[in-house]
């Protein structure tokens, strides 16, 4: 096996990098500029920004909540396709999903008993 077949990919990488750099450079040179205070504020979904992340401190608890949300959110991601394909998977799918949910349930009980779901100020 030779590396010849990868030459187009290399070409594409070089070309796309050049294009990205060139277009940023060109637009910064020839684009018109009329800054106003409103235009210079960061975009935060239409809400008036309250200073950047560098000025604020927020509790690490949010991090825990976000982690837990992601872990249990993945469960749903798996449940939907399983529900759609249930007719094909039959008993095998049911057992597999049962094992999956049992493991998640163990994690849930653990988080709950260990106070991971409590919000202590």
């Amino acid at each position: 096996m030779t590396l010849d077949s990868y030459v187009p990919i290399l070409f594409l990488i070089v070309l796309s990098t050049l294009f990205a750099v060139a277009s940023i450079w060109v637009s910064s040179r020839i684009g018109p500029r009329a800054p106003t205070p409103a235009k210079l504020t960061p975009y935060e979904s239409g809400i008036v920004p309250e200073g950047g992340i560098e000025k604020q401190r927020f509790p690490v608890k949010f991090y825990l909540v976000a982690m837990l949300f992601i872990i249990f959110d993945i469960e749903t991601v798996f449940l939907y396709p399983w529900a759609v394909a249930y007719d094909n998977l039959k008993l095998f799918g049911l057992i597999e999903m049962g094992v999956f949910i049992a493991i998640l349930l163990a994690a849930y009980v653990y988080v709950w008993r260990r106070g991971g779901l409590e919000w202590v100020d």
Partner: protein
């Protein structure tokens, strides 16, 4: 579209399932016990889990098949490794019990993570697909990252966990890139031919020698990833820091278990699957082995911390084992297995002595604090003497037999000069093992070093490993016999 349920033989990963189930059970049970109670049942549950795993693994002895969509090989080789890892883990659990007792850290997580780590190491031994190898690697690595940083109030522990984690993630990236290149070259990640694919082994048989450039590049990256786990030079930088900062029982388990699991994968991958490619991987591994043996031995000489000293010693031992792998013959295979099984018991014993003396607060870990240990605690000093002599490879200890086997295999394969370098490194290494003995016997100290842990369980671990080190150094026949029969691979 008609779905055909795959044939799932869960028996193939029975030991791993037993460990994971025990770990989950442990977490749930512990969550319902009020705080402040003594948590003796955690260690009991973990021991039962490992017992079941050992029985299930031993039952697979003699089988020889690929299961679970050709991802998992069930053979004597895997069984040997799995049983050894489980034994290491049980000893670690007993040691940890006395280490953690009555501290706020005696939590179910410690034992659960240990169970998860052991499950990953077991899976590593029977993985017959690069994706499976990676999965197993990550299971035990992630568990160990957390365990290394388990002394939450200790900055050193935090630092070592962070270093281990960052470098470990980096090495995993190398390993993944290696898998990608191997897949690009061969069109498969599976080891063995069959099931509609030819596998990496089949590809090497059917393809011309000129077609393997990309494959060799990929294999090189796999060596980086696996070399990191066994702490081979030049991928060893994390070892002294991680070994020093981790809780002592975990350090012992890392030295014994991680090394065995990663070398097991290397043996299966290089000596069995990539055997036709040996002209390409041998020079790489020879360079790595020489650097590992010499650098590990030389740098250990100047260490003043016992845990760091043992860390450099474990680097050197990775090099010694690699000579058995480089030989790539039957004696090399069985020799490496024997070496790792006995080295694991010895190094666990050495760290058990360190644990007993250092205790929860990890005090008295400098070499100077071992002054006159023999006059205070003759039994502990005697056990440590035995471990040091075994690590140095003195006759009548298991370490000598292991070194004899791997160097003998290298000589048989025509690499006598590699064996000579290995022996040279052993001589250098003997210097710092003897240094420990000199400190214990020949220097007096009036401070009266007392063990921080007096529990019977921890001391019995010291006793058991010392007995194993001595007995296997005198009656080595049965274990060598087992190791030889364990070289039956699925191939």
């Amino acid at each position: 579209m008609e779905f055909e349920a795959p044939a799932v033989q869960l028996g193939a990963i029975g030991p791993e399932i037993a460990l994971v189930t025990t770990a989950l059970l442990l977490l749930i049970v512990d969550a319902f016990i009020p705080e402040g109670e003594e948590r003796w049942y955690l260690a009991v549950l973990a021991t039962i889990g490992f017992g079941v795993a050992i029985i299930l693994a031993a039952n697979q002895w003699g089988e020889r098949e690929l299961q679970l969509a050709r991802m998992v090989a069930v053979d004597n080789f895997a069984t040997f490794v799995k049983t050894s890892v489980a034994v290491f883990a049980v000893l670690t659990v007993w040691l940890s019990r006395d280490y953690l007792k009555r501290s706020e850290d005696e939590e179910s997580e410690f034992y659960a993570l240990l169970l998860f780590a052991a499950a990953g190491m077991m899976l590593m031994a029977s993985a017959a697909d690069l994706i499976m190898v990676f999965l197993a690697l990550e299971i035990f690595s992630i568990s160990l990252y957390v365990l290394v940083g388990f002394r939450r109030r200790s900055l050193a522990s935090q630092e070592s966990a962070m270093k281990y984690f960052l470098l470990g993630a980096f090495s995993s990236a190398f390993f993944l890139m290696g898998i990608a290149l191997v897949y690009g070259a061969t069109g498969t990640t599976n080891f063995y031919p069959g099931g509609g694919g030819e596998g990496i082994a089949g590809y090497l048989v059917s393809s011309a020698a000129s077609d393997v450039d990309l494959l060799v590049l990929g294999v090189g990256l796999l060596i980086v990833g696996l070399g990191f786990k066994i702490a081979a030079v030049p991928f060893h930088m994390w070892t002294p820091d991680a070994y020093q900062g981790a809780p002592s029982p975990i350090t012992g388990f890392m030295a014994a278990g991680t090394k065995f699991a990663a070398v097991a994968t290397m043996l299966r991958l290089f000596v069995v699957v990539l055997y036709p490619l040996r002209a390409d991987w041998r020079p790489i591994l020879i360079a790595v082995a020489i650097a590992t043996m010499l650098l590990g031995s030389v740098l250990a000489v100047i260490q003043e911390d016992v845990k760091r000293l043992l860390a450099y010693s474990s680097i050197a031992h990775a090099g010694f084992v690699l000579t058995g792998l480089i030989a790539a013959n039957d004696r090399g295979l069985s020799g490496s297995l024997f070496y790792l099984a006995t080295y694991g018991l010895t190094v666990l014993g050495a760290f058990a002595v360190v644990t007993v003396l250092a205790g929860r607060k990890e005090r008295n870990v400098t070499l100077a604090s071992y002054r006159g240990l023999f006059y205070e605690r003759p039994l502990l000093a005697g056990a440590l003497t035995l471990f040091m002599l075994s690590l140095a490879g003195v006759p009548l200890t298991s370490g000598f037999v292991g070194k004899f086997l791997v160097f003998g295999a290298a000589i048989q394969a025509g690499y006598w000069w590699l064996a000579v370098i290995g022996m040279l490194a052993s001589v250098i290494a003997t210097f710092f093992y003897l240094r420990v003995l000199v400190v214990m016997y020949m220097q007096e100290d009036d401070r009266g070093l007392q063990p921080a842990i007096t529990g019977r369980l921890a001391n019995s671990v010291v006793g058991l490993t010392a007995a194993a080190t001595l007995v296997l150094g005198i009656v080595w026949g049965p274990l060598i016999d087992l190791a030889e029969r364990a070289t039956v691979f699925f191939a």
